[in-house]
């Protein structure tokens, strides 16, 4: 529960930034994206373990030393990937007016499906990252300090959506537990997705749809007593 202590605090990232600092940040961000794009392409060819930092810096067109200024390890690179993914998700959801009045199972479906679409071109990379994140000392581990900010962002995003559903009486109050449950559910879905041999990952889509419907119905009826 420790993480959720922070959840009620508003994020204060955008406060008081000077214009020049903003520009510098933008440039920095662009370089990071360039490196990521180069790395993802190499990962697809050689795998996460098989790609060297030398290859990445050469492909991105920067000095190897500079690379380390941006990313100390490949795990930092992976974290950056997921930061981008989460930012993209939140931005996309904000713009998807169609979804805002949709029933909860559809909202959650659309969100998770969007995430799957985002990671779809990098399946092997995701698989390798998933495996790494199981190591307790990995920066990608759910328990690592480095990944907490990202996780909080996602949990806050989901818990807002669940709170709306509670307000609309779509589901009974489930409190903070809900966001955790969705987060875990997403990880389960990604695991299934990684091992899904069906064409176009059809089975994962079916699993996603039906488990969300079932879960919502079970919640609605107040548990399994039906």
């Amino acid at each position: 529960m420790s993480v959720l202590i922070f959840m009620k605090q508003p994020a204060n990232e955008k406060k008081g930034k000077a214009a020049s600092k903003g520009k510098r940040n933008l440039n920095k961000e662009r370089t990071k994206e360039k490196i990521l794009a180069a790395a993802l392409e190499l990962f697809r060819e050689h795998g996460l373990e098989g790609t060297t930092t030398k290859q990445i810096s050469r492909k991105a067109g920067i000095a190897e030393g500079t690379l380390f200024n941006y990313f100390k390890t490949k795990e930092d690179l992976a974290l950056f990937f997921f930061q981008k993914e989460t930012n993209d998700l939140i931005r996309w959801y904000g713009q998807s007016a169609r979804l805002h009045d949709a029933p909860l199972p559809e909202k959650l479906f659309a969100i998770i499906h969007r995430q799957l679409e985002y990671i779809a071109p990098y399946e092997e990379f995701i698989g390798a990252v998933f495996f790494r994140s199981l190591q307790p000392r990995s920066k990608l581990s759910p328990l690592s300090l480095e990944s907490q900010e990202l996780r909080l962002k996602y949990l806050r995003f989901v818990s807002d959506i669940l709170a709306q559903a509670e307000e609309k009486k779509e589901i009974p109050p489930i409190g903070e537990l809900g966001a955790y449950a969705v987060g875990l559910f997403y990880m389960g879905i990604v695991t299934h997705w990684l091992h899904d041999p069906s064409e176009g990952k059809q089975k994962t889509l079916a699993l996603l749809d039906r488990s969300l419907n079932l879960a919502t119905n079970v919640l609605k009826k107040g548990g399994w007593d039906w």
């Binding site: 559809e106 059809q202 419907n213």
Partner: protein, 440 residues
């Protein structure tokens, strides 16, 4: 110990199935079993229906029938004579139906299949489906060229789910239990049919085949496939004019129009049977769209049965009745239609054929001036049902024959509801293939 027989609740069965390995996505059957519990109103209704006493045993079996082998259930539901009205109603409600897809899933499915979202490839696209299909749902759309189309989109991984179910049904010995009602060959046929239905490219091929073959019948309309907007899991076709039977009847059409439509449906049936030798085999009334101008639109070609020539030939014999004086022909009919394991000399076979004979003589007489059969007459339907009952009771059900009789009785039900008068014998004989003389 064992004083009280544990109640076999539907939920209990669902749980048992789940234990058998039918996972949440892996099984279409598991979904069908959950279905009554997913919706509150329906749940109560069904519980009440399930409580009715006299239908209990059959329902127990039918519960197990839900899901992919619903095709088998449908076959049973056509045999209205076997069950009480209660049960038939219950059965009719058990039409195969995939879970509904919300907009997000539908869009994901469409993009997964065709690489783009619907709004990118159509001029307009209705996000709400207008009909449920057995394996997905149908949306209205307008192409960029301005043509009104129907877009059928399949629910994800439905084929995998169906395959799992049939595998499980076999290992769990359901097939053996079902054998009390239907032969294994019929179940195999149902499986083949339903797996085929999951590939919309086959349906597109059927549509093209029927459009060509049925061209000599100007009053029949077959939807045109849009190949560029179709694939295995999405089927785009021109939207058919006309309305379903129930709606058609609400406008209280004159007898002349009823007769014309009825005659058209009958001609369509016999033309398919004797000329095309393939049947649009789903006799669901929703698959015929009737128009005020007397034309008939056919929809849903997922389930098409291509018939073997000998089946067609022998079926024609029911109408020609030449077998009554030809023992070799008689033996061939028994062999082809009822299956090789049935002997023509068995008394029950003779009794059954005599019943067929008297039914045809009464309602489709060969001699005398050709006259129209009044299908509104319940005597005819009773006769047809009695005949089907005899055939089913004796398990005279070669798979091809089942499809044929299913379509025929489906058509008769349709004509009965329509209250049409149709010169059936005359129409049947118009395209009947020449009977091969086998001697005697």
């Amino acid at each position: 110990m064992g004083l009280v027989k544990p109640k076999r609740s539907s939920l209990g069965r669902a749980t048992r199935l789940a234990r058998l390995g039918a996972g949440l996505t892996g099984s279409y059957l598991a979904y069908q079993l959950q279905r009554p519990f997913l919706n509150d109103g329906e749940k109560e209704e069904r519980r009440q229906a399930l409580g009715r006493k006299n239908a209990r045993q059959i329902r127990e079996d039918l519960q197990d029938l839900r899901g992919p082998i619903m095709k088998v259930g449908q076959a049973l539901s056509m045999q209205t004579h076997l069950f009480d009205a209660d049960v038939v109603q219950e059965l009719a409600g058990l039409q195969m139906q995939a879970p509904p897809m919300h907009g997000s899933l539908m869009r994901a499915q469409f993009k997964g299949a065709l690489g783009k979202y619907p709004e990118e490839v159509f001029a307009s696209f209705e996000p709400e489906p207008f009909a449920a299909a057995s394996l997905g749902q149908v949306h209205r759309a307008v192409t960029k060229r301005g043509e009104e189309v129907a877009v059928k989109i399949q629910y994800p991984a439905i084929r995998e789910a169906i395959e799992t179910d049939f595998r499980m049904l076999r290992t769990a010995g359901f097939a053996a239990r079902l054998a009390g009602h239907l032969k294994e060959s019929v179940i195999r046929e149902a499986e083949r049919g339903i797996i085929e239905e999951t590939d919309y490219r086959i349906e597109a091929r059927n549509l093209r085949h029927f459009a060509t073959q049925l061209a000599p019948l100007p009053f029949v309309r077959v939807p045109k496939v849009h190949d560029d907007l179709s694939c295995e899991r999405v089927l785009t076709m021109s939207r058919a004019r006309g309305v379903r039977l129930q709606e058609f009847l609400q406008a209280n059409p004159p007898q002349e129009l009823r007769d014309r439509i009825g005659t058209g449906l009958t001609r369509l049936f016999f033309f398919q049977l004797f000329r095309v030798q393939a049947l649009h085999a789903d006799p669901h009334p929703g698959n015929y769209l009737l128009d005020q101008d007397g034309t008939i639109g056919l929809v849903d070609f997922g389930c098409v049965k291509y018939l073997k020539p000998e089946i067609v030939r022998c079926y024609a014999q029911f109408w020609s009745r030449e077998w009554t004086n030809d023992s070799a022909l008689f033996a061939e009919i028994i062999h082809v239609i009822f299956g090789p394991e049935v002997s023509p000399t068995e008394p029950r076979v003779r009794r059954c054929m005599a019943e067929i004979r008297s039914f045809y003589d009464e309602f489709h007489p060969l001699d005398g001036p050709s006259r129209a059969l009044d299908l509104a007459d319940s005597k005819f339907m009773d006769g047809l049902n009695a005949l089907a009952k005899t055939l089913l009771k004796n398990k005279f059900l070669a798979p091809d024959f089942l499809f044929l009789s299913r379509t025929e009785s489906g058509m008769c039900n349709l004509l009965h509801t329509l209250q049409a008068r149709v010169a059936t014998t005359q129409i049947a004989r118009e395209w009947m293939p020449p009977i091969r003389k086998t001697g005697g």
